[in-house]
């Protein structure tokens, strides 16, 4: 609809994908159908107690509706046409999809709660917030909302385009990948490393997996077994020598090879770790230029 809404010909920002080659009549019909569904959602939301809602509520209900229908900005024309053909079926399918996604998120959450190290208060609070969100989630309204209180930072953040239970699933999946790495090492070694790398990790919103992964990668680069994570000054000197002798592009290849070896030896999916570990390259370049890898590979024996 390229920003034009059917009702009254007024603007309703991006209600229909700008690139969608829908005809003008289809655009008008789609806008009108969305408003009809929104009117019903508003009536259900107010439980018959009101004919109007605050604009923020209307926007939130519309955003939820579009998420349920998968008619966000950029949705393909075929999806709009399926909606035009049978809006009620599209809405019902959206509700079912939201319920399935929520159920999948709950399964992941239960597993994550069982396997997550309890030491980080921030992560514990975050999982509690996700649990509260799961209990209160209602696929009919505000289906695209995400939990407030996800304060624990992951190594690689979840894509901002995800919403609702899709976001929560992706977040929990990534957390479980990070948990798998942490669980591959003795807890005492992980704690000792974190105490050196990020001393406030128990109370502050600080990621636990990244320092562990980086030290393990350091050992892998030296051809050592990743366990038990220790890197003393001799190993760091060897790493400095190994890395400084190579051009940046070669260093990147080295990081990729080390990541692959590390994941193979720990039984982790390499694809999940490639981005955070190969993403170390710019930091490594800077540290090598300064002649000091202490801020990257943690001296911990």
């Amino acid at each position: 609809m390229a920003g034009r809404a059917a009702a009254g010909g007024l603007r309703m920002g991006g209600m229909i994908a700008p690139a969608a080659p829908l005809g003008a009549a289809e655009e008008r019909q789609a806008g009108a159908l969305l408003l009809t569904l929104l009117r019903r959602q508003i009536a259900l939301w107010t439980a018959g107690g009101g004919t109007s809602v605050p604009e923020e509520t209307a926007q939130a209900l519309l955003s939820s509706l579009r998420w349920q229908l998968r008619l966000e900005d950029g949705a393909p024309p075929a999806r709009w046409r399926a909606f035009l053909a049978d809006p009620e079926a599209a809405f019902a399918a959206g509700l079912r999809r939201a319920a399935r996604a929520r159920a999948a998120a709950e399964t992941l959450w239960r597993a994550a709660c069982l396997e997550t190290p309890a030491d980080s208060a921030c992560l514990r609070d975050t999982l509690r917030a996700v649990g509260a969100w799961l209990r209160s989630y209602d696929a009919r309204f505000l289906a695209d909302r995400v939990p407030e209180g996800i304060d624990y930072p992951l190594c690689v953040p979840v894509a901002a385009r995800l919403a609702g239970p899709d976001y929560v699933r992706a977040w929990l999946l990534r957390l479980r990948v990070e948990n798998a790495l942490l669980r591959a090492f003795p807890p005492a070694a992980v704690r000792a490393l974190l105490d050196r790398a990020v001393p406030l990790w128990r109370t502050m919103p600080l990621n636990m997996a990244e320092p562990v992964a980086v030290n393990a990668l350091g050992r892998a680069l030296l051809g050592l077994e990743p366990r038990p994570l220790a890197l003393g000054e001799p190993e760091r000197a060897a790493l400095r020598e190994l890395l400084a002798a190579r051009a940046p592009a070669e260093r990147r290849r080295l990081l990729a090879g080390g990541t692959a070896r590390l994941c193979a030896s720990l039984g982790l999916p390499p694809g999940r770790w490639r981005a955070p570990l190969c993403g170390l390259a710019p930091r490594l370049d800077a540290a090598l230029a300064a002649g000091d890898l202490a801020g990257i590979f943690i001296d911990f024996t």
Binding site: A5, A7, G8, L10, R11, M12, G13, L35, L38, R39, I42, A43, G49, G50, T51, S52, V53, P54, E55, E56, T57, A58, Q59
Partner: protein
């Protein structure tokens, strides 16, 4: 935030609304013309925008007419003008009450204040907060009963 489109009430829908408003106000001997309704619909759009609200249904005009038609203070000459002031007041109070009052509760409180301390003056209602409306509005200035 981009403003929501207010669905245009026209054609059959407008005629239906006019009939509904006039049926609701008939017990008080009041009625609206089509032109008056059009002005009221413009006023509605303005009031919704001013109060930051969205309404996709028929709106509050017919329920307002039904709630106020039997007020002894209303007369045909000012019916449309009063309804316009009342609907603006309604949306403002609805927002200020932060959704704690149902439409029916709000209409009931407005009517009580309109027939009571307001003495039929919609401008008096315009100065009330939801709390004053619901807990009992004070008498207008100069009308306080003195020993």
């Amino acid at each position: 935030m981009e403003h929501f489109p207010i669905p245009v009430c026209a054609g059959e829908e407008r005629d239906l609304l006019l009939a509904r408003c006039n049926a609701a106000a008939a017990p008080g001997g009041l009625s609206l013309t089509g032109a008056e309704l059009d002005e009221l619909l413009e006023g509605r759009a303005r009031a919704l925008r001013d109060s930051g609200r969205v309404e996709l249904g028929e709106g509050i005009l017919a329920p307002l007419a039904a709630a106020f038609a039997s007020s002894p203070y209303l007369e045909q000459a000012h019916w449309a003008e009063t309804l316009d002031a009342l609907q603006a007041c309604f949306y403002r109070l609805k927002s200020e009450a932060r959704e704690t009052l149902d439409d029916d509760e709000l209409l009931e409180g407005m009517r009580r204040a309109f027939d009571g301390p307001a003495g039929g003056d919609p401008d008096y209602l315009a100065g009330l907060s939801p709390e004053e409306l619901w807990l009992g509005a004070p008498p207008p200035e100069g009308c306080a009963w003195e020993e």
